[in-house]
Symmetry: C2
Amino acid sequence: MSTPPAAIDADLGWALGAVYRSYLKAVEAVVSDLPGGPRGYQVLTSAVHDGAGNQADLAVQLGIDRTVLTYLIDDLEECGLVERQADPRDRRRRRIAATHNGTTVWTQRCAALEHVERHLLGSLGADADTFRLLLRHLAAHTDEFDPSTSEAVEHLERLDETPNSRARRRKPDPLSP
Amino acid sequence: MSTPPAAIDADLGWALGAVYRSYLKAVEAVVSDLPGGPRGYQVLTSAVHDGAGNQADLAVQLGIDRTVLTYLIDDLEECGLVERQADPRDRRRRRIAATHNGTTVWTQRCAALEHVERHLLGSLGADADTFRLLLRHLAAHTDEFDPSTSEAVEHLERLDETPNSRARRRKPDPLSP
DNA sequence: TATTGTTATACTCTATAACTATA
DNA sequence: TATAGTTATAGAGTATAACAATA
């Protein structure tokens, strides 16, 4: 067999996953003692900057379920990094605010993360800033992408409806092309 | 409070996560009927291109445990997409090869994914190719990054050893800056 | 009635340990 | 003895459903 048309290196999803895993591994040393690890740090970031009005919005922003966020904030609050403040205008809502200690901890970790990220993007050389810029732009515009309106699905030939079974010991139907 | 120094949008980890989640959501419609979803597709990609010599290498490449890969290949094999072939030179090793059907399915999905990815990166305009290039470069060089040798950890002020407790109902020690 | 957040519970996904077979 | 792969099991992570408080 000659050179394959597109090896796994060409797969955008694989590359995204590989870089993301690499990032998580690199960052672990800096934030592993925070409850929730990298995600706990992101909650702290949002709290320091008053990023989200309430928990529901914050959960969407972080891509997690609101019930998961409850436990996460519980731990951060018990560590004295953030605190829940009732919104006087809507007493159902809770504003997540960083404590003084939380702000100090965040500032330190943020500086350390800058070093890690610089190292992580080091192989890009002068293009590291370009990558940051493009990635930030993408992240800011993800909500504009609606898969349901994509023509990619229509492009895909119709397949027999074989629902994806993740159950381990179930014999799946063979996929026909 | 004036403009915060660095909101969550500036966080590289958040941006990576947001884009990665967006990718997974976008791709789901194309690969959801494959066992393992996007990851099953990646195994199929590797199988089509003879990407990994054995399962252990493939597991490392995909960032998953080898025991997880076993179940994943089980399902793909039962669907008739890949098959395990014993390596004649080391009969412990199994080569994961795509079946004829698997190659056909992969070719179709790969074409559909191209559309999804183009749509996903659409907001970057002409810079989409640049982003792909930089991301691929990063993914190819992730192994060069060793967090243990990073100066970022030394940059971080020494903290009391407060191991990260993910247990839900345990009172964690308060973090001192 | 709808929404925010919480809690209990069930489910999914992943990792650990022990095993077989090959080297 | 060490390694590749498998299996059973335990564990971590996540989501579903029911609830209380507020709108």
